[in-house]
Amino acid sequence: MEGRDFEEVEHTADSALRIRGANLEQLFCNAAVGMMQLAGIESLAGPTRKRRIELQASDSESLLVAWLEELLYVIEMEEVSFTKFDLTVEDNTSLTAKVQEAPIGNIKRHIKAVTYHDLKIAQVEGGLEVTVVFDV
């Protein structure tokens, strides 16, 4: 599909990303990378670890929020970032991910939360698109 995988869009008080992907798996990966870029996370070279994440939600939008919240929680509590994603989404409601982690060197911006504000994963030419508003 055409266009960037994600881009920051104007929001007066908080921060918003418009994210695209050919399918849900790609959309979720791009959202994760976009969120980490928005937070200005810099990874350190060093030992990497693998982690498995399993999540369930009632619909694809809730699954996206749960996925990004899960990553934010791990970033804050364990001070690691994510360098690789291998992700499967089933029935829009179930996610299994194998992620590779690296130690965090620096975080420039605090993201408080992932919101549901006007959240809708839309079918667009060549794939899917969603705008996520983050409370910062």
């Binding site: 007066t12 911006r109 919101t115």
Partner: protein, 483 residues
């Protein structure tokens, strides 16, 4: 799209969108603004978000929008909405992720002249003593049992543990303790996030600021507050940290199913809610109260560290380096209150998202010394501009459910602010104008540039003209510590 002609002007600085504007509105939306502010508000989605908020079940009277309004998520920032008990709803998104984000003001007997030679050291001491920054760990690492007590007792926990003085607690909204807080309604994940962060400022727009009390407008109130013209004061702006963020996230997710169960139709999923008398609504109110108490305790622990910083920088150099609490006020909160609507007393849950209480004289919960005056309202500015101390009025009770503005309000997106302002250059400019800056991140500083905000003096003029608050004192920044 909402246009100026969709409003009817009902006062010199009061505009209303009637319920006829959109089918699903339950109450009108009333905006406090001058012409310029109304136009600013129409340049983003703030007013649309207020119209969306006006669809919540159980709303009474009207949704109020303060002059510092700007686009948020769900509710606009600067939105006030009251839902009736027992079956009106409570909406976590209408309170926000940073539950009980608020401002504390402390006064001193230190003249700005005396402090001037030591301000660099004072700024550095505050920066060193008060943990700040992204994900910053606090100064107190709580055990599970201690966190349970912080949730239940708020500021009272800090008093029992040597972080507070009795008058600090007394001069805090609700005495720094919301009743009904039950940590069993808080997730393990939130508790894990809360344990290491007490006594930390965080990042974003949170700050500690040393101010000059520049001008007094209400001598009697200023005397009661201990604010003397020409002396220095301290403001602390922060909230409930990761603990509150997680509680809000947990309940916004949980209530996605509740709205279907209760057949509530909403224009935005961030507005999810549950009836106040439902199990979900009761659980959220109780968990929110835990976060509110955590935030009161957090600001109090920071005061403890700020006092230490004042001692380190000023002891032996000025006559009296102590700090006295003026007040501590919440600006992201849901409160159960009694108000008069259509001549009848009703109990309501007032959602204030980026708005403060501004109760008038006679409110029994106010500290005795403020009871005949009204509630102090703290309106921080934007790093390079003035901040204001106001008093709530009797009229605010009917105009805005006893609420006022909470700051200057953004007009420029963070993205645009970073594009147009360079953090290091801004720091130089502020320092050249005599404001000491300590900040973790230069891009973060740029996002919070004064030019990204409305003119706080005009915002205050509107709330005063509207009759919801009166001026007590103007503060000017001398040193700013940004997370």
């Amino acid at each position: 799209m909402i246009r100026k002609q969709d409003f009817r002007q009902i006062g010199p600085v009061l505009w209303e969108i009637p319920t006829t504007f959109r089918e699903d509105m339950r109450v009108p939306v009333r905006v406090f603004a001058d012409d310029r502010m109304l136009e600013d508000a129409l340049s983003d989605r703030s007013i649309l978000q207020a119209v969306n908020a006006s669809t919540l079940p159980g709303l009474v009277s009207h949704v109020s929008v303060m002059p510092d309004v700007h686009q948020g998520y769900g509710f606009p920032i600067g939105g006030v909405a009251a839902t009736r008990l027992p079956d009106g709803v409570i909406s976590p998104g209408g309170i926000g992720y940073d539950i009980n984000c608020g401002v504390r003001l402390l006064a001193s007997n230190i003249s700005a002249e005396e402090a001037e030679p030591h301000l660099e050291n004072l700024a550095s001491a505050l920066y060193a003593n008060c943990p700040s920054g992204v994900g910053g760990k606090g100064s107190v690492r709580l055990s599970a049992k201690q966190l349970d007590q912080v949730c239940r007792l708020g500021s009272e926990w800090t008093l029992k543990n040597g972080y507070a003085r009795p008058e600090d607690v007394q001069r805090t909204e609700e005495g720094g303790r919301i009743m009904g807080a039950d940590p069993s309604h808080v997730s393990q994940r939130a508790l894990q996030r809360g344990r290491p962060q007490l006594g930390s400022l965080g990042a974003g727009n949170h700050f500690i600021e040393v101010d000059l009390v520049d001008q007094i407008f209400h001598p009697e109130a200023a005397r009661a507050m201990g604010l003397n013209e020409g002396s220095i004061a301290l403001q602390i702006h922060c909230g409930s940290r990761g603990f509150g963020h997680q509680i809000c996230s947990d309940y916004v997710r949980e209530l996605q199913a509740a709205v279907q169960r209760y057949k509530i139709h909403l224009p935005d999923r961030e507005l999810v809610c549950a009836p106040l008398n439902s199990p979900e609504g009761e659980r959220y109110l109780s968990a929110m109260s835990c976060a509110a108490n955590y935030a009161f305790a957090n600001r109090q622990v920071l005061v403890h560290h700020a006092r230490k910083a004042f001692e380190q920088a000023l002891a032996g150099k000025v006559r009296d380096w102590d700090l006295h609490q003026v007040y501590d006020i919440a600006h992201n909160m849901g409160k159960i209150e009694e108000h008069t609507v259509d001549g009848k007393k009703v109990r309501v849950c007032v959602h204030r998202k980026g708005a403060t209480r501004a109760f008038g004289p006679g409110f029994p919960e106010l500290p005795e010394e403020y009871r005949s005056l009204g509630q102090p309202v703290l309106v921080p500015g934007s790093m390079g501009t003035s901040s204001w101390v106001l008093l709530g009025t009797e009229e605010s009770m009917s105009l805005s459910f006893g609420s006022s503005c909470h700051g200057a309000g953004r007009v420029m997106s963070r993205k645009k602010a970073k594009r147009t302002v360079r953090g290091d250059q801004l720091r130089e400019e502020l320092e050249a104008s005599g404001i000491r800056i300590r900040a973790h991140s230069m891009p973060g500083l740029a996002e919070e540039a004064p030019q990204a905000y409305k003119d706080v003096d005009s915002v205050v003029d509107v709330v005063v003209q509207a009759g919801i608050a009166q001026k007590v004192a103007r503060l000017l920044p001398l040193a700013v510590i940004k997370g």
